[in-house]
Symmetry: C2
Subunit: 449 residues, 2 copies
């Protein structure tokens, strides 16, 4: 039955026949979820309850570690049948994870065509359009009529991932035009394809970053986008269901890099030791860096013992400029991520951030100035002025760096999210503390005279 989230839930089924019926009736993704929750032994049993087609469908939805488990526990014949029937892109993803030996054996068993398809995809680097595309699409030769096209599509639908677009190629397999199933349906059969097909085909190359491909499909509301090689020959398509996943992956990656952590969508559920492995290195590295910031304070212990209110002010200074930096950083990284911002906007944004930064800096400086006045004993009122000025500088630097660093990285064709929040705040603290304490001790020395 449907849970209130609309998902289908299997609750405490003990009767195997009942389970079998249920598992074969469920949508593959739900059956997959159910099986994934079981123990390895139960998984093997449950999976054997699936009838041929359901097994194939469910297998594609299983987590990779479960797929590997099953490949180990099923008979070679079953395994081979499963792998042969997977769509090339999912198969490639699976092969990525399997031990090289197993992959080699499986590849050999595949039909020449399927082997070719998988090899092609595996040939492209992670994160490129070539790696996420599928090689199963509808290709039409030029000069067909609408009727002939529809018949061709009808004839070999089965193994096509989408039939909603058909791509027209010339004799050299070069991509010429695209026609939608919608157009085909609403045109008289004996019209020539070339009369209705659109010559302007938005396409990506095999080495286009997957995120860029996804953004293009989003921009043009495409259900699929063709992938071509350097010679503009059609080699595959990316379908919209992959795009949805890609966009979520990218967003998750941005969020996690900004927070100085990794692990992907499942990070929240990974076991403790994995969590520690994924987070501790970042934290230790950051402490290491932060020693730099803190060491900037060490030499001034004398000053602090004389003006202890500094110990109250410095955290506010650090915390606030840190927040400013994170704000600018997140907004910029996300803007670049969704394609709202391009490196071309650098100047525009720089100008804007400088103005906004100045305004913010002023407001925050005044705030801290007032606070320092309240906290400092009468004879240390002057500290307020220093605090305010350093706050102004630091906040301004924070806003500028938070914007410019990711823009710069993007320009260098690097990942804008490389500069994580923790890293940036650490740098800012180092600078902030140093300026603040140097100015204070300078002031002290001048007063001593």
């Amino acid at each position: 039955m449907l849970t209130q989230e609309g998902r289908i839930a299997l609750t405490d089924i003990t009767d195997l026949n009942l389970l079998k019926a249920e598992l074969n009736r469920l949508p593959p993704v739900d059956a997959g979820d159910y099986i994934a929750e079981l123990s390895p032994q139960q998984q093997a049993i449950a999976f054997r309850l699936l009838n041929k087609n359901q097994a194939i469908a469910v297998f594609e939805y299983l987590p990779q570690e479960v797929q590997e488990e099953l490949i180990g526990s099923l008979h070679d014949a079953q395994v081979f049948h499963l792998v042969e029937s997977m769509s090339p892109d999912d198969r490639a993803e699976l092969f990525d994870e399997l031990p090289a030996g197993v992959v080699k054996r499986l590849l050999q068993q595949l039909s020449a065509e399927e082997r070719q398809a998988t090899a092609t995809i595996l040939g492209y680097p992670e994160g490129t359009a070539g790696r996420v595309m599928t090689t199963e699409y509808v290709r039409l030769r030029q000069g067909l009529t609408v009727g002939e096209a529809l018949n061709k599509i009808r004839r070999n639908d089965e193994d096509k991932e989408t039939i909603y677009y058909a791509y027209v190629t010339d004799d050299n397999r070069k991509l010429v035009s695209v026609v939608s199933l919608r157009q085909l349906l609403f045109t008289i059969p004996d019209v020539l394809i070339r009369e209705i097909a659109s010559q302007r085909v938005v396409r990506v190359r095999t080495d286009t970053p997957q995120a860029e491909a996804a953004q293009l499909m989003k921009r043009y509301d495409l259900i699929a986008i063709p992938v071509v090689d350097r010679e503009d020959r059609l080699v595959g398509i990316i379908t919209v269901d992959d795009v949805v996943d890609i966009l979520e992956e990218e967003a998750t990656a941005d969020i996690q890099k900004l927070a100085g952590v990794s692990g992907g969508d499942e990070a929240a559920l990974s076991p403790p030791h994995v969590t520690i492995r994924k987070r501790l290195p970042w934290l230790l590295a950051n402490i290491g860096l932060y020693v730099g910031a803190a060491s900037a304070i060490a030499p001034f212990q004398q000053v602090i013992s004389v003006v202890p209110v500094l110990a109250v002010i410095m955290p506010i200074l650090s915390n606030t400029s840190g927040n400013v930096a994170i704000q600018a950083l997140s907004v910029t990284v996300r803007g670049l991520g969704v394609g709202e911002v391009t490196p071309l906007d650098t100047l525009k944004i720089l100008r804007k951030e400088i103005l906004a930064g100045l305004g913010t800096a002023l407001a925050l400086a005044i705030a801290l100035g007032i606070l320092s006045l309240i906290w400092s004993p009468p004879q240390e009122r002057w500290v307020a002025i220093v605090a305010a000025s350093v706050m102004a500088i630091n906040v301004f630097v924070a806003a500028s760096l938070g914007t410019m660093l990711p823009m710069g990285l993007k320009r260098l064709k690097l990942d804008p999210a490389l500069i994580s929040g923790p890293l940036l705040t650490t740098i800012l603290d180092a600078v902030g503390f140093l300026t603040f304490l140097s100015l204070i001790s300078l002031a002290l020395r001048m007063m001593a005279k």
Copy 2:
């Protein structure tokens, strides 16, 4: 021509006829981008260069403020024609922004059917499935044959947002089953729909949160999902192009809330005063809060002047537990966002975070302990032990709060991202400083005896 991002760019066109040709040849979204860049006066001119259909298509892609500008500058007849031809969901979005008076006038001019459609959508609250759905879908009565169905679809394609799914309803308009265009195409015309249509239709209700609808479509790889009312009557569909936008919106909202900022995807490009308005309040509120944290230090100024190394240690303490909190927070919020984590996992995650938190806390405590040893003068070595213990406690609390707070909010059906990074780190600092300094002064007093 195509820019390297695959977008189409118009560069310095001065000849109006050339511009007209270009604008009408471009994909609507690109023409829209070009026009949006122009000055209001130029926009009105450029827009008048578009032929009827292109104008309608382009209008839907224009930013809302530009749409409003145009509605002001065009003749009522043109405006009415544009609005009448918009798809109901886009029209609803536009009406949201327009002054009530204008909306009222436009609604009156609409055909009864179009008015009804828009009114329905506007009737549902922001962020629900009802608000983002379109009322233009293919609906089939039960008992039709495949052939009849295809003919019906052929007859009134024009104003349907997608024809790739057709929804079968009973005499009370209740949703009964769904059939894909693919199925229709690959079945003999005189088969009855009910023989091939799937009874198990994943659906959402008008009041389902848009994010939930998007996650369902992602889960089941749907190109459209039907929206039903309380009586399970079909009232609209959400198409995959909207889902892509919804998922990106949600991710952006999470990122920005985590960073304590707002403004949506375009935040990076908004003018300085807007940026300040969007960010400064958060920052000032945070300083306000942070005064609490800092005030925790104020009473201990005496202690600090005696043991100035504290001023070196405290920033590390605060920075590190802050990072731990942000990591846990981001991972949890994102996990909830993509539906990987549900409130049901609370216990599982709590157990895991406690273990991971302990491990992390231990490692970081040792690290800080060693550092304090290095910085403290011989007679203050004991500070290292206090520092290490407080670090351990604080980091552990940070990891737990960073995970549990968003889970708790989700359980209360609130937005998990409500607890922003800055807010959490401020709380942690307050607690951390207070514990640390109290323990230190306690130790001092004991040694004084």
